[in-house]
């Protein structure tokens, strides 16, 4: 190994970091830039930075380092590409209610199955609010009006449903470790 290679992260480490955190990073970036293609570009830039500077990081903080670099790259791109206004709108896949453009790398089959099971176990009123908000893309104000319930009740049902769904995903993550 030449002196210039000394301290550089081993390629196997870079690859392992990508396999461990790439998907989560991609989802994080989609949440920031609202465009899967742009998120993919930023992800690539982030790992390029890892190759360049990863040897300066500590193993136990590499994940946070990756996310921090990804965050700054994403914000820089948002400024350059004037994505700011787009961020106010919902994530790209929701802009037309067109779920068929979903990037498979953002959600795995097993996740969909977990969520399907959990949605089926929600109380009907909670499931209804979830469907109206996410699939039908209605605001909570509209949902409350159509269901003739207080706005706080609509928000509460959504929040309760999300809490149950998140718990299930977190259990999945814990079981996979």
């Amino acid at each position: 190994m030449s002196a210039a290679d000394e301290g550089k992260l081993e390629p196997s480490i870079v690859a392992a970091l990508y396999l461990d955190h790439g998907e989560e990073l991609r989802r994080f970036l989609v949440g920031l830039v609202r465009d899967p293609a742009l998120a993919a570009d930023v992800l690539q830039t982030t790992f390029a930075r890892l190759v360049e500077r990863g040897h300066e990081t500590r193993q136990e903080t590499r994940k946070a380092w990756l996310f921090r670099v990804a965050y700054h790259e994403a914000m820089a791109i948002r400024r350059r590409e004037a994505v700011g206004d787009k961020v106010v709108r919902q994530v790209a896949w929701q802009s037309n209610g067109d779920w068929s453009t979903i990037d498979d790398r953002l959600v795995r089959f097993e996740t969909v199955e977990i969520i399907r099971d959990e949605l089926a176990s929600l109380r009907p009123e909670e499931r209804q609010v979830v469907r109206m908000r996410i699939y039908e893309d209605k605001t909570f104000a509209v949902i409350a009006k159509e269901l003739q319930i207080p706005l706080g009740t609509a928000l509460g049902r959504m929040r309760t449903a999300l809490m149950k769904l998140r718990e299930r995903l977190k259990r999945r993550d814990d079981e996979s470790k």
Partner: protein
Amino acid sequence: MTSEASYERLEQDELDWLAFCYVSGELQGDERSAFESRLADDQSAREALALAVELMQAIGVVETHENECVVPAANQRRLTTWPRRIAWMSLGASAALVLAVVWSQLDTITAVFAPPPFDRRELAEVWSQTRETVREIVQSEPYEFPATMEAELSSEESLPSWISAAVFNQSATDSDLDRPSTHDES
């Protein structure tokens, strides 16, 4: 659950809800800016955001499948579901099996039914196309298949090419510098 654990749970729930509101466009103005600023340093907030994105997309997929009858025809072709793939793969496998049986019993069938002349080469081509169709479906899946499937994805194929290029181009460039370092890299 101790009071401290309860507090942490409440904090996490609040963070997860904020992340959802951010992704779904519910946060406006100062609230949105405050959450984005938090993402600069708060790893918990970043992970909450990633989870919110995953959750919303998974819910969208499930609800889309549940309501498939209202999805425009143009979009239906782009929907890829595991049950649908299984159905197509089963159909392909069944077709291949039928072809194999017909192929093996060809002489008998010919003698009994006296079908019109046919081209065995065409049958072989159809068989190859069926295998290729199955292989294409297998290779388009991002996750592992059961061992019985023709999964030819190697572990290396789950990494994008730019990862390899970035890493090995970097290594190749550095290895050309065949001289001792004159500075401290600490």
